[in-house]
Amino acid sequence: MGLFILRRLGVMILTALCLTFIVFWLTNLFPNLEKLAKTQGNFRMSDEAVATYLGNRGYTQPLPVKYGQWLGVLPGYVIEGTDGETRARCAAASSPTEDTPTFCGVLQGEWGQSTVFKDSVSKIVGTRLALTGKLMFWVMMVMVPGALIIGVLAGMREGSRTDRSLSTVSIISTATPEYVSGVIFIAVFATPLFGMQWFKGTATSAMDGANFENFFLPVITIALYGMGYIARMTRASMTEVMTAQYIRTARLKGVSFPNIVMKHALRNALIAPFTVIMLQFPWLLNGVVIVETLFNYKGFGWTLVQAASNNDIELLLGVSVVSVFVVLFTQLISDIGYVFLNPRIRIS
């Protein structure tokens, strides 16, 4: 078990390094840097001016060196610029002093500075993640119980009418991406068009005080898309368990049907959905980006869109690191959880 977790951790760290390197490479391609120089300096810079601007700020160093510095395993640059000013990475691109550290990268907790929000990246990511955390919490509260109930009800009598109608419901929900359901929900429930103006079409006010009126639509929009998939997995796992020998034994003993489902089948049927719920996180991240843009809820996904469309390199890197780690960490939990929950693997 210990060795298994260690190996998974090793692969996870390798994947994280590769992914962050790819993001770093893509965000540090020359056209992006040129745009950065022009937005930060002067829009009518000549090509030479761009080159010296970037050179003075350490952007023209070789890519692996830059990546090492950003990561915090190589000492940050100290460059005496062509304009006579000395700039050091660890002193926020001003001249270094006595107590300037040698290393300043992500590992040291220095995430850099956002050029759009004029704030430190770690602070922005922190506050935005808290807002998205609130959204995700309610999504999980709606999605997981809903999906499990649908899945178990559909799976306990395979092929019955309940099964067929609930399966159709879950197909419909998987076929409705967030930007479709969100638009339909807003049009129906937040405009006077259909006479059912019950909710608010924006969730901006939910950032300070979330209530049913302004938070229900975004939550249900994300929850609905993921719900169908989890429900189908739960149904598959439930039908498999219901055909097992020990369920037949329980039936022959004369245990009542509700008791069979609740006490015998449910525990084993919920192992597979746990993995699926954990692996659903990358998709939820997708949904969060779409829904936060649609409902103007300024959380993590909204920050990602802002950083990417405004060429805010350091912020985009920070956001990518966090999202990559969320994805990899949930994969790890799902692997470990599967081993832990499944007695056949746990005991051997």
Partner: protein, 484 residues
């Protein structure tokens, strides 16, 4: 010209009947579902003549009744469609006019279904699809959009206006608004589903959008399958280091949040570096490899036939490849511009490449899993004993036997690709902003959603119906292929 009402003269007769029937049907379904919790389990009993006895009791009667109501709903819908054909212009309301515009699609659908149901016993898996209700509904929805895109794209039939044409005075107007006087003779007199923010006809944009989706989504899925199959089969069959490496790469792409990847690949700065062109050059080579290896592994013992077949398949494909990949504007120009007949607009190429790139690792994992399972079968061992080469076994023994799950996944994946395309459009990435594809139109419509909700709804519902159709079709196919 008067503005059109929604239902015209149906408003007093058929529409209320339909509404009542639908409500009764839904209530019946709910009551049945609740009752079936308490009902004893169904035991199949045969009549004397061998047919199965119908379910007795109150629930059984309710089931029969509800089936009849469902038939009534289908009949009313068919009546609305047929009657509206014979009504003069404007009498049947917006609904009737929209139905009339789709006339060639309805006729094609009727012909397709009639022919398929007549010969369904001779058509293999496709024919079996017509045994399941879910599969038929899904197939109908998908074919509706397929025919629409064919008639719009090739014959320019269904759309009422040009999708880019702006007429002043109809900005953000509600459905059924008449076009101002002073247009040419034969100009369609109404905006059937209203005008959007730039006074363009929403209905025409929606049907024109189906062409873009219907071209890109299936093609991109085919390419993703080529890449996934060509890499997944050896990974599963050989195993070992190759498998570890390829699986690691696939997991790497899968761990990337899709939207982040899109933003990184599709921004104009990255497109300017030519990265998407290099990726296209890499990804588009896979069909050539796939077909080349497929033919060569089978016919290498007959050199003359082998050369002929390879030439027939690979030369056109190779020319197509060079034409598509090489582009005068991109840094990757490997083919003289004078001979470059196909110029894909760089926006579409970027969208295409990123969708293929995101989809292929999942296909890879599925194919790898299937290959791992099938390579232990006896017929593979028999082929190995015969002395067949590994690629022959992979492409001519394993692949045909993996076709069932792959066909089902193909349907699902076209739906997923459609969703991804919509996501790209929703964020305004890749395709030009005036493009009528559904994602871009939803994106345009959502900006004023709280004031004018009608422009965003038709493309949203269109996308939903197509993806739903593909999902239902996949479900029907899976059910029918499991029955063997």
């Amino acid at each position: 010209m008067e503005p059109l009402s929604w239902t015209g003269s149906f408003g007093s007769t058929l529409i209320p009947a339909l509404t009542i029937a639908v409500f009764v049907f839904l209530a019946g379904v709910v009551v049945q579902t609740i009752m079936s919790f308490f009902a004893p389990e169904v035991k199949l009993q045969a009549n004397a003549d061998g047919t199965i006895k119908s379910r007795g009791g109150l629930l059984g009667r309710l089931e029969k009744l509800n089936l009849q109501i469902f038939m009534l709903i289908v009949f009313i819908i068919a009546a609305i469609i047929v009657v509206s054909w014979f009504m003069p212009y404007g009498k049947a309301g917006i609904l009737g006019e929209v139905i009339k515009r789709f006339l060639p699609v309805w006729l094609s659908l009727i012909v397709t279904f009639a022919v398929s149901i007549t010969f369904k016993r001779k058509l293999g898996l496709y024919g079996k699809l017509f045994d399941s209700m879910i599969g038929m509904i899904g197939f109908g929805l998908v074919m509706f959009w397929v025919f629409t895109s064919i008639y719009v794209g090739l014959f320019d039939m269904i759309a009422t206006h040009d999708p880019l044409q702006q007429i002043s005075g109809i900005k953000n107007k509600t459905p059924g608004f008449p076009v101002p006087e002073g247009q040419d003779e034969g100009f369609f007199p109404h905006y059937l589903l209203g005008g959007d923010n730039l006074a363009r006809d929403i209905f025409s944009r929606m049907v024109h959008g189906s062409v873009i989706v219907m071209v890109i989504a299936p093609l991109a899925t085919v390419f993703a399958f080529m890449v996934g199959i060509t890499l997944g089969l050896p990974a599963g069959y050989y195993g070992g280091k190759l498998d570890t490496l390829l699986s690691f790469l696939a997991n790497l792409i899968l761990a990337f949040p899709v939207i982040l990847l899109f933003y990184l690949l599709v921004t104009p700065e990255i497109v300017a570096t030519g990265l998407p062109n290099y990726m296209a050059a890499f990804l588009f080579i896979f069909p050539l490899v796939f077909f080349g290896v497929m033919i060569n592994s089978r016919f290498k013992t007959q050199p003359s036939k082998n050369t002929l077949l390879l030439a027939v398949v690979l030369i056109p494909l190779g020319l197509l490849y060079l034409n598509v990949v090489s582009d005068a504007d991109s840094p990757l120009q490997i083919w003289p511009a004078a001979l470059d007949f196909i110029n894909i607009p760089s926006g579409i190429l970027v969208v295409f490449v990123s969708v293929v790139f995101v989809n292929s690792p999942t296909v890879f994992r599925i194919v790898r899993g299937l290959a791992l399972d099938i390579k232990t079968r006896d017929y593979v061992a028999a082929a190995q004993t015969r002395g067949e080469g590994p690629w022959y076994i992979m492409l001519w023994e394993i692949l045909p036997n993996a076709r069932g799950p792959l066909i089902v996944d193909f349907c699902l994946r076209i739906g997923y690709t459609t969703i991804l395309l919509g996501t790209l459009g929703f964020f305004g990435l890749g395709l030009p902003p005036e493009s009528p594809d559904w994602g871009s139109t939803i994106n345009e419509g959502r900006k004023l959603l709280l004031i004018f909700a009608h422009p965003a709804l038709p493309p949203a519902i269109a996308l939903l119906s197509l993806v739903l159709g593909l999902n239902l079709l996949a479900d029907g196919l899976r059910e029918e292929s499991l029955k063997d």
